[in-house]
Symmetry: C2
Subunit: 341 residues, 2 copies
């Protein structure tokens, strides 16, 4: 089994690679398990050295559009023997809103070029496309349904959401045509992400936990009552691997599947932080509204039903405190505050 | 008021131009009526001479992607003083299914290039995008809702439908960003089209009336019980002009609006033909199933609710016989059979 992960040096890409390497084999679309012989990490950044030290891991570093451009320019981003592609690479929501052309290039053009590269193999590789809950958005003067279902019409209110939704359509049609096998998966906001803030409008939903636990100040740019739909990194990776492993008939239509989301609010997240890190942690939060972030985040739905995912055994995280404690356990070096057990 | 019509030499483009010239002025998005000073017809084909004889009409003949390519290559397809663009140009459904790359180029790339040309003007011109009921489709093993509403999630089952649905998303985001003003309008199958068959899978829905009335044999490639959602040419043009003239607040969201559809069936259409043209007309129909056409057409919905359009006063045609008699009145030279009054 030869796998490509675009965005393979990013947080989710690296974690996905580690999970795949640990499980060692993969049952592609319900077929018999096959040992994972190669994972090619395609990214603008170099993957971590310890991951590259695994003999099954290779890397291609560069701009995805450039790497996918046809022509005899070195090793292909999608080698001929690739059976499975996880397409995680994307410019994030804040970036795409600030730089429309960057988003179109990074998200729309690159996704199309990736699908063309897969089509050119003529072997119908599986493409698992990481779409996003950002396809859902409340338009000005409109309302969202109380509960977002898999069959709810997305009305994206960000260029990032539009580009992801277009990506879903492309994956569905390339799959319908038999050029690839397709899995459209909508990721929820992933929290708690380790590392550093990124340009996503949702970046603070990790930072407001990660920074205080590291003894650093963090911004809460939206009011506490803002509802959010979250998934831990672990459950998010479970969803991506499940998509690749589930047989076509069990997976269902080519339209996108919502991954499970924990329903919580920014205020409840802050309360969980206080239960785990005490008043010292809460005191590091700055509740300073940022209209640009509020504008994007407040258009996102807080209640997403993942009916199709549930039927596959994928469940939301039980509560946010569990997510925080998982983060602490997985990232001991990032914790500087004394904790409450 | 300077207007561009892409696909302006096609049947709908020509008819739209004639209607606009006849009305003389246009109230763009509810503003005060402004006289129509120029209509630029952009098409691969030359528009009819009598239309070009009108001093307000100009033409640009060529491939839309080529005409829109930036560079100092003659007159721009979207001149700087354009206030309104009707984007009708498209490769049709049958063509796009047979030639995937043609469809992506003609429908996706050209729509994006057109939006970029409009954005480059920095004057926020209005773009009325002719989407299609073909965005709706019944996937294998899935069912469609009994009634398709404006907010029903499209699951296109043709590349044409996917490309039109992506076009809707692009128009919505370019409008949300303030690059253009946007109107997404879903056209129903237009029948009876005059002229010749085209590559659309729905072409027979005009041919089965037009050809017998001209004394020619015509194919009915689907069973009589196939339900179809139709609109006459006249009502279709009414919908396009209404989209341009309706104020933003009355129009509502940037998501696409279904135009009204007459609910009928292929068998009912044949019955109307017989009532108008007698047994001599019916005898010219060949009921020869074509699996390729059945495959596409049978995924389309027969019952489309046009709730938003109805609120704007747009109504479906009253019945199919009226549509047939309208066609006969408008195309007297195309009739060769003796008719029943």
């Amino acid at each position: 089994m030869n796998i490509v992960i675009t965005g393979g040096a990013g947080f989710l890409g690296v974690r996905l690679a580690r999970s795949l390497l640990a499980q060692g084999a993969l049952s592609l679309a319900g077929q018999a398990p096959a040992p994972i012989s190669r994972i090619l990490l395609v990214d603008r950044a170099q993957p971590p050295a310890d991951l590259l030290a695994d003999g099954r891991v290779a890397a291609q570093v560069g701009d995805l559009n450039e790497l996918l451009r046809p022509g005899p320019t070195g090793a292909p981003a999608v080698p001929a023997d690739t059976q499975l592609v996880f397409h995680l690479a994307a410019a994030v929501s804040g970036e795409c809103e600030a730089d429309f052309d960057l988003g179109m290039r990074s998200n729309l053009d690159a996704t199309r070029a990736l699908l063309e590269a897969c089509r050119a193999l003529r072997t119908q590789p599986m493409v698992v496309f990481a779409s996003s809950l950002a396809v859902f958005g409340k338009a000005p003067g409109q309302s969202l349904p109380d509960v977002i279902e898999d069959h709810t019409l997305p009305t994206p209110q960000s260029s990032y959401g539009i580009q992801k939704f277009i990506g879903e359509q492309l994956v569905a049609d390339y799959a319908r045509k038999g050029f690839v096998r397709g899995r459209n998966v909508r990721l929820m906001t992933v929290s708690v992400r380790p590392g550093r803030p990124n340009g996503a409008a949702s970046s603070f939903l990790s930072g407001m936990i990660r920074e205080p636990l590291a003894g650093l100040r963090a911004a809460c740019p939206v009011p506490p009552d803002v509802a959010v739909a979250l998934s831990s990194p672990g459950r998010t990776i479970d969803g991506l691997i499940c998509a690749a492993q589930t047989a076509d008939a069990d997976w269902g239509p080519l339209t996108a599947m919502n991954l499970p989301a924990l329903r919580t609010s920014v205020g409840d997240m802050a309360a969980a932080l206080q239960r785990v890190g005490g008043p010292a942690a809460s005191a590091l939060l700055d509740w300073t509204p940022d209209p640009a972030i509020i504008r994007v985040v407040s258009t996102w739905p807080g209640h997403i039903a993942a009916t199709r995912a549930r039927a596959l055994g994928l469940l939301p995280d039980p509560d946010f405190e569990t997510i925080v404690r998982d983060y602490i356990r997985e990232n001991p070096d990032a914790i500087r505050l004394p904790l409450h057990p």
